[in-house]
Structure formats: structure tokens, C-alpha cells
Symmetry: C2
């Protein structure tokens, strides 16, 4: 055994973040990790082919200059207000490292994205869960997370509520918009209006690029400068930078895929209503629904070749989360669900 003295007590005590299953043994209908069922823009493949050349021997641009300019154009902010990262997770990680020291508070809604608690544990910070956005003002933290729409519920918090919240907080308010494109709304203006707001975006879901790990943070330039100190200097490789640029050059492709996912999601919600199955009114690319023996049902669906997620969160043990697949995939899911309940 490794002598425990070699590792920090908070690291020894913690569990790592548990990602959803990525089974390789057979072909499943994969509705467990909120991936987009439609492929990324064809632009992406052209960009990869162009970038696959001998220059791979050279370091990438550490500041991702062209990509940050593009992100700025797309979201209506200057490039200095953008930090590019290896998925939204990279940015969430930088924020916690820059702002939460040992013993500091890190606050989030519960339930929400479980990575927030993992990042706090790595720092030796204290995770504080609250059950509504309003209650965030009651707790003392250096970082406040609002996932919007929230995971796994899919609930959207209105921009007006966050606009009112930000000045009340004596810490950074992180608005995690990984799923915002499926809500058709954004709180990016708040990242410029307030000195303590960072909006985090991802290309994993709405741009169908989970396999490439691309995201960004948007905030005032003075905040981006602090986060830049913590980021790995070369956090985005050459191909990743080119892929992100190409994907953002074809917004129409992503928007079309989002519309298809939203249409399927809304149909699924109606079908669940018709079956009398309770669920949250999701604005994201998944639906969180209540069902008896959720763990057993998850396994039964897996036996039938359909993966969904049983997060098994305290108080939400009888909920499953199903990601929005193609229409035929959701039909298959519903067919098995009807047979099993």
C-alpha cells in the first residue's frame, strides 16, 4: 500500500468523480451521458484533415487567439472576455482552483452537476448544498454554482433572478450553461454586467463534440486574466482548436440539431405525461423522471440494450435520467418502458 502520508488528507478521503458508463462491449442505445444523437458539422472533419500535418510537432497557440476571437464574435463579447478550455469542466476546475482555498465554501443547488462537489473536495473546500437559488444568499462561499438549465432536473432559472442574485453574493457566481442551447436562452450578458459572474459554455452537447472536450468561460477581462494564471498553458491542442473554430463557423448545423432534440424531448415529455409518469419540465437534452424501483428498471433497460442514468442522489433514489436520442431511439426506450412498468 502507498503510505497515506504521501497524499493530502482531503484527497485520500474523497471519492473521484464517477462518469457515466461508456461501455465498449456491445452496441447500446446510449441515453445515459447527455450526448447529442446527431453528428457534428461536416466543417469539423475538413478542419481535422487540414490540421493533420507535420506542424503537430509544434506547440499549439497557448492563448487560442483565433478561437477566442471567434467565440467572442458568436457570443457578442470581446476576445479578452473569453477563456477557452478542454470542455466546460476545464473552466469549472480553473474557477474552483482560483477562488476556493482549503476550508472555503463552495455552494450549489442540490441536486445539480456532481462534479462541483468533486472539485471542492480536491481543494479541501467545504461543499454547501441549498435547495433553491434564493437560498444561495444565505450561505458563505467563495464560489456559487448555478447550472442553467440545471442537471439533472432540466429546470431553467430566469436571468432576472440571477441578475438580482449576483450583487448579493460575496463570491463568484458561476452560471454553467452546458445545456443552455436546448433552452434557447442564455445569461451571457450577466458575465459582462457584473464583476463576479462567469458563464461557462460547452461544445459537447449542442455542437455534438463530447469526444473532443471543448468549452469556454466568459467573464470580464480582469477575471479572465486571473483564470489564465491557473490554466495549463497549452490546454487546447492544435486539432481541438481547429475543431472548435470549424464548429462555431457552422452555427446553423448546431441550431438545427438542437431543434430536433428539443422536438423529441417535448414529445417524450408528452408521452411520459400520457403514461402518468412524473417528471421535471426539462429545458435541457434530458428528462429526469420518477419511477418505482429506479435501480431495477435501469438494469432491466440495460438488459434490453438501452442505457439510462440512475444517479442515486439522496432523496432522488427513485429517479432516472434519460438523455434525448433520435426519435427511433426514444421510441425504443418508450416501448421498453411501457413493457417494464
Amino acid at each position: 500500500m502507498t503510505d497515506p502520508r504521501y497524499f493530502r488528507p482531503n484527497i485520500r478521503a474523497m471519492q473521484g468523480y464517477a462518469p457515466g458508463e461508456q461501455p465498449r462491449d456491445k452496441a447500446y442505445i446510449k441515453l445515459n451521458t447527455n450526448e447529442n444523437p446527431y453528428p457534428p458539422s461536416p466543417n469539423v472533419f475538413d478542419a481535422i484533415a487540414r490540421e493533420a500535418n507535420d506542424d503537430l510537432r509544434l506547440y499549439p497557440d497557448p492563448m487560442a487567439t483565433a478561437l477566442r476571437r471567434k467565440i467572442g464574435q458568436v457570443y457578442g463579447v470581446p476576445p479578452e472576455a473569453v477563456i477557452a478550455g478542454q470542455g466546460g469542466d476545464d473552466i469549472l476546475n480553473l474557477i474552483v482552483r482560483a477562488c476556493a482555498g482549503e476550508g472555503d465554501g463552495v455552494a450549489s443547488l442540490f441536486p445539480s452537476y456532481t462534479l462541483y462537489a468533486t472539485l471542492a473536495a480536491i481543494q479541501g473546500a467545504r461543499m454547501i448544498d441549498v435547495d433553491s437559488v434564493e437560498k444561495l444568499t444565505d450561505v458563505d462561499a467563495t464560489v456559487y454554482f448555478v447550472c442553467n438549465p440545471n442537471a439533472p432536473t432540466g429546470l431553467w432559472t430566469e436571468m432576472a433572478a440571477l441578475d438580482a442574485l449576483a450583487p448579493e453574493l460575496d463570491g463568484i457566481l458561476v452560471i454553467d450553461e452546458a445545456y443552455a442551447d436546448f433552452a434557447g436562452r442564455t445569461c451571457i450578458p450577466l458575465a459582462i454586467d457584473h464583476p463576479n459572474v462567469i458563464v461557462v459554455r460547452s461544445l459537447s452537447k449542442s455542437f455534438s463534440l463530447a469526444g473532443m472536450r471543448l468549452g469556454c468561460g466568459i467573464s470580464r477581462p480582469e477575471t479572465v486574466r486571473q483564470l489564465d494564471k491557473v490554466k495549463e498553458s497549452y490546454n487546447l491542442d492544435r486539432i481541438s482548436q481547429a475543431v472548435a473554430l470549424a464548429a462555431l463557423d457552422d452555427l446553423e448545423h448546431a441550431e438545427r440539431n438542437c431543434r430536433r432534440v428539443v422536438a423529441t424531448r417535448d414529445r417524450l415529455k408528452r408521452e411520459l405525461d400520457a403514461m402518468g409518469i412524473e417528471h421535471y419540465p426539462s429545458q435541457a437534452n434530458f428528462v429526469f423522471f420518477r419511477i418505482a424501483d429506479a435501480a431495477g428498471l435501469k438494469r432491466a433497460l440495460m438488459d434490453r440494450g438501452v442505457l439510462v442514468r440512475h444517479l442515486d442522489l439522496p432523496g432522488y433514489e427513485d429517479y432516472l435520467r434519460v438523455s434525448i436520442g433520435t426519435d427511433p431511439e426514444i421510441d425504443t426506450f418508450l416501448e421498453h418502458l411501457r413493457a417494464l412498468v
Copy 2:
């Protein structure tokens, strides 16, 4: 201005790591960031073309299973002894986060890779510099870095010395082998022999893949399990994993390029000797040499289209580091050097 209260005092106080210049304005002979002058294996491009498909919409394998198996085969260790990362820097970062809390000591030789001090500063840990490997036993730290061969000197520390050092340290000994392939030696056996040794490897230099950010750590499985808790779950995207596998499948290509770089390095050392220029006996893919008005000479070389690195480290202000390019590139460098000194 951002209210300083939003960031940890150690983050506000620190400077970020300064990577070498990556100018895009014109074509330079780039001898400033230790890149390999020869292209990566053709296997790499085949792998990229295969991986550029619709599966980019899906998350990558979080455990990089196939890649870790391959790394294990290449270096003669079980896959459980391997953690794959986004460059060696990713692994260095994980180690410091897992082992060094606020106020803990992080020790390194001086001069050495300046990122170690940046990683310590991000944690709020204390950086301790010593001037020889032997003196590492005199200082109290949770992480001890030995870059081998060292940067920027290129000096190799014998395995026997590190074998004797490890049991004397009450912390983790990190042997950073980013440049070891140019020395034709490795200390990987120590990573299994001792409970507190981690060897860090990189594909940036000897495999000509700086642009892809690939590396790994090798240590006992119980140590890898602790580091896994800190790593981003999906730290290597789909294309990166495929590229690393393909590169490691063509060891002969990398070995051939290393031999060419070593031959050019040794010729450069002889030429510097002939010019009476003092330099360290480098075992890496760069040479650190002493010269009057180093800062001025670096600028004069840049004006003539040749980039070298002036690290400007305390006590080493009159040194420049030149990376090993192709033979014609080094000839051009020498020609300008002769004209300028």
C-alpha cells in the same frame, strides 16, 4: 477592476507560467521551445483520419484503456501503473494538487523547469529551490521534482543516485523524463521499486507531438488511484488517444528521429567548444550556453530570423538555451552566432 476578494491571495499574487514565444507573424527558425524538428510517425495521420468520424459526438474513454495498455507494454509496467495525461504537464499538475496543500513544501533543483514553481504557487504551497540532488534530503517537502535530464542544463542524474534518494524522502519524488529519450536512458524501474516515485513521460519531444499534448505518469497502482481522483475524467479526447496509440506503435520512427537530434546536438556542442563558448554537457534536445549580453544576442538572432530562449533566471542571466533543429537550421544558427559574437 475585479474586486480582489473574489480570488485567493496566492492566485492574485502570482505570475502565470510564461510559455516560449509562438510567433505567427513570419517564418522563424524556431529553436526556442524544444520541439522536435522532424515530423511525427505517418501512423499518426492514419489514426487521425480513422478517428475523424461521427463518434466525435460521444465522450472518449475516461480511463484511456487501450492507450494505458499500450504504454504499459512499451515501458514494461502493468496498465494499472499508468495514468495518461494531456502532456506531461497534466501529470505534474495532478501530482502537486494531490500532494501539496497550502503551506506545504515543493522542492526542485534550481535552475529547472519553471512550471514546478507555478504549480506550487497555484496551490499556495512553498517552493524550495536547492542546487544539487543531494541537498533535496535537507528540505521538508511533500513533492520533490527532479527533471532528468534537467532543463535547461540538460544534465543527467544517474539512476543509482535517485534510487538512493527516494527512501530518504518523506514525500513523493517526481522524475520528470520529458527529455529522457534524448539521453537514451530511463529511471522507470524506480517508479515500481519505490512506493514514493512517479516517473513522468511526454510524447511532445521525442515523438514530435508537442501540438497534441500527450504524456503519462508511471507509478505503483495505489498511487495512480489517488492521482485518478484529481484528473479531469475525460482528460484525453478521442483523437488524442488515437494519436498516442499510433505514435507508440511506431517506436522505430521516434528512435530514428532521436538519433538524428542527438547527432546534431553533439555536433553543436563540438562547434561551441571550437568557438570557446561555455555550455553544459547536455543529454537533452537543447544546449544551454553562456554568452555575453545574452538578452541582446537573443534579440539580434530574432532579427535574423532565429528564435532561441533567454530564460533570464537569477544567476543565469548570461545564458541562452538553443533547441536542436535540423542540421541546416543549426548551421544557420551557428553562422549568425559567429557573425554576432
